[in-house]
Symmetry: C2
Subunit: 295 residues, 2 copies
């Protein structure tokens, strides 16, 4: 980016006022990364801001409505990370369902030799998998898991064209049907805590809950209570409220697999995300159509 | 089994001579479980033995040639465990390739909060997957992994009818092509250490090796050396020589995922395996054709 553009780093304090006025007035575009809130106050400190180019597919922390009202365009990096996110979701399903982490500890601690066979786990084939949200990522998860002889169900705002998957018009219905319930909806105000205590209860004592979407989609207090009381069998989580300083009660649980929001965290994909963010910036400065606008 | 048959437990010492002579003479069938050697000496201590019903698909520790020479039939439990073994294999691939175990430690140790993002891993999509052995289990692994947008290659004694997978007539050729090399051949003398130092070297510094077959298929000394010297990127192993007291050098490595030979270790599948072993015994005692004979 330094080769292509004049780059100014945003202050680590998050306070735009720390930038010289002439810089704030020059800035036409943001190259944005991370999950901090990008709201009206920051945007309005840059009178000539016309583009926010996000690094990542989810842009729930960007106040898009305010951007639109000011004529600021927003881009994201869809598609290039879909495979990695779906791969991690399936990896989390298999790891949790088959106890791969505990089995690894069983070997390295020497218990295999001293205490015998590792406790039996649960089979995946024949299970009902419920996918909440059938966008690009939800669909990629379904495409993978149908190869495991599972029965795919999904929730979305409307029925989709799918290879024999079963549509549910409510999250509670989906959760009640699912042995494995995977959250793959977008973040943002529309999905705030839609994985409610009622939905979590419907996952049931034999069910697993997987979240690779956003922590904001989850009633996290209800989830922790359900895990503590074994109201659900277990959870595998890549996303949380208050990342990376997540609720310490998660670390006390023996029925969770915790991942550090790295679903797109591969060398290959992060390069592609950076390239797509940069190409959106280049298109903007060249006066060409943006490649992946969200507005 | 106690309801259907007169059951005698084999002595824990492994010494048939500890059984009373009249018991040894009465025994017509073995219900065999585990991976200890079942050779001529034990079989010949039972003059009326006519069936060895194995619990498991692999029967490499049973001296089938000697059984055949004595007219003793052998059965196993194929098919019922195929899905679970393939699921664990894919789970091990994803867990190793995406560093799921290390990522879990990153969260629970608090490093996510204190040290920042987890190190980037490698993407799976677009990778070449090589499957050594395309029996039921190898094929089930391929069926799953093709859903991850990988390129499937395989080695077998002869070319098979597959959905666009690439045949290799040598293990070295397969390993050299593979980013992810999965061992799924049968055990036994024909495959003893066929994953030789030469094959392991061909996996290469960027490659991962997965073994869900048998420890006997591997030159384990060469594998440990390759892992220590980073001649290969990593290994995920469910099987070893000398289980469960495996070579302690494995526990010192930071580029392995170790599993305690539990690829069929689910409640559902173990019930099916037990039922199939029992049904073979019932068929034998009823004078009906055996369900899953191996000879």
């Amino acid at each position: 980016m330094n080769e292509l553009f004049t780059v100014h780093q945003f202050p680590a304090s998050g306070n735009a006022a720390e930038l010289p006025d002439e810089v704030r007035e020059q800035v036409c575009a943001f190259a944005f990364k991370g999950h901090s809130h990008l709201g009206a106050e920051i945007m309005d400190a840059f009178p000539n801001l016309a583009l926010v180019a996000n690094y990542g597919v989810g842009y729930d922390t960007i106040d898009v409505a305010h951007a639109v009202s000011r004529g600021i365009q927003v881009t994201n990096t869809p598609d290039v990370l879909t495979n990695d996110v779906a791969d991690l979701a399936v990896g989390m399903v298999l790891s949790l369902n088959r106890g791969i982490g505990g089995a690894s500890d069983w070997v390295t601690s020497g218990q295999w030799g001293s205490a015998g066979a590792y406790p039996l786990q649960r089979t995946l084939s024949g299970a009902s998998v419920g996918i909440a949200g059938l966008g690009r990522i939800g669909r990629a998860i379904g495409n993978r898991l149908q190869g495991f002889e599972t029965d795919i169900h999904y929730y979305a705002r409307s029925q989709k064209d799918t290879p024999g998957w079963t549509y549910h018009d409510s999250l509670v219905s989906l959760a009640a049907t699912s042995d494995i319930f995977i959250v793959a909806v977008s973040g943002g105000p529309d999905t705030l805590e839609i994985i409610s205590s009622e939905v979590i209860a419907a996952v049931g004592a034999d069910g697993l809950l997987i979240n690779i979407a956003r922590g904001s989609t989850m009633d996290e207090e209800a989830l922790i209570t359900a895990l503590q009381s074994k109201q659900i069998r277990g959870a595998a989580l890549d996303v949380y409220n208050n990342e990376p300083n997540i609720d310490s009660r998660f670390m006390q649980l023996d029925n969770v697999l915790l991942q550090p929001h790295h679903s797109s965290g591969t060398i290959e994909t992060r390069k592609k995300m950076g390239a797509l963010q940069r190409d959106n910036l280049s298109a903007f400065f060249a006066g060409k159509p943006l490649i992946t606008p969200v507005t």
